[in-house]
Symmetry: C5
Subunit: 88 residues, 5 copies
């Protein structure tokens, strides 16, 4: 999974019918000190992550393995909110 | 999903039979200020996005989860048209 | 899909049984002016593309959604031959 | 598979129900001399790898082909612990 | 598929049960003149490729479409040994 930080939200009223009601969060990649990197991804939020939280994003077909996203045209999902990292 | 801007259209008469009738849009990656980046992808349009619009593109097997693209050799689909971003 | 140009062919007699009879083309990425980039991919040709033609390549599991490639160890397929691009 | 080194652990109490009980390891890419590279990934551990060990990580849908990860929103799994490399 | 050169072997005794008996080869990307690039991948060998041979590697779910790798946590497989390239 990708380590990232929720930095905002996407508003989109015209979308595939299967995406109605999904919260779309902007997640920027971070390094192990939570410093923001250049790359970001738009991910569906399945765990109630708020702006500023550090999260794990699952991508590809794995993003469709939650109740919210199953069989939907979604390639990134926030699967966990990070409490802390233990780095050796 | 990838944040991008529709910048053009691809014309292709010789193609896999399953792709007949699909609109193929050129989508260039943008940053959070909608500035165009170098990378682009050719995506099937499932939501009627026009040139100049900001969109979300789902890639990989997730691109086949729309009525239009199911079971087809398509690895990128425009799944939503973006109204605006709220960035913290 | 990836925009590319067919620049050659791969000959491989020893291969997975399921790949016998497939034409393997070398496709180099191009930009919107058809200028060749550094990256290339080896793709199965399902549409009869010749050397020099501009094509669209579908990658990942989507590359297995043609009659020729279904259930085979193939991760890139030429799905269309491009006639022209309309770029705004 | 990706060659990497386990350098730490992620703690995440709020996560998708299907991820409960999974150990989440931080794996940094290494080169063939085991020198750490910039990129890292968070992977589920299915083989009991400890911090400092060199491992192979399977990504994408292949990460869901272990007993522990089947049908779960997981896109990276530690599938093997490396004893040594023989490089020509 | 990725064009690469087999440069070595990975030894791993502790691994997912489904990977027992698989030969794991280190494949370094090459350009069209077979010059080695920086990136490499560890791939299961399904065709008996030896060190020094030029090969095609299928990645992602396509890597699981051989008899040897079906339903296993494997995201890269050597699917063909290259005899030669014809580049225009």
């Amino acid at each position: 999974m990708l380590l990232g930080k929720v930095i905002g939200t996407v508003w989109a009223t015209r979308k595939d019918d299967q995406m109605v009601g999904m919260k779309l969060q902007i997640v920027r990649e971070v390094d192990l000190d939570y410093r923001e990197q250049k790359r970001f991804v738009v991910a569906v939020d399945s765990v109630g992550a708020g702006v500023g939280e550090i999260v794990l994003v699952a991508q590809g077909s794995s993003a469709r393995q939650t109740d919210l996203t199953r069989n939907k045209p979604v390639d990134a999902v926030i699967a966990a909110i990070v409490d802390k990292l233990d780095v050796a």
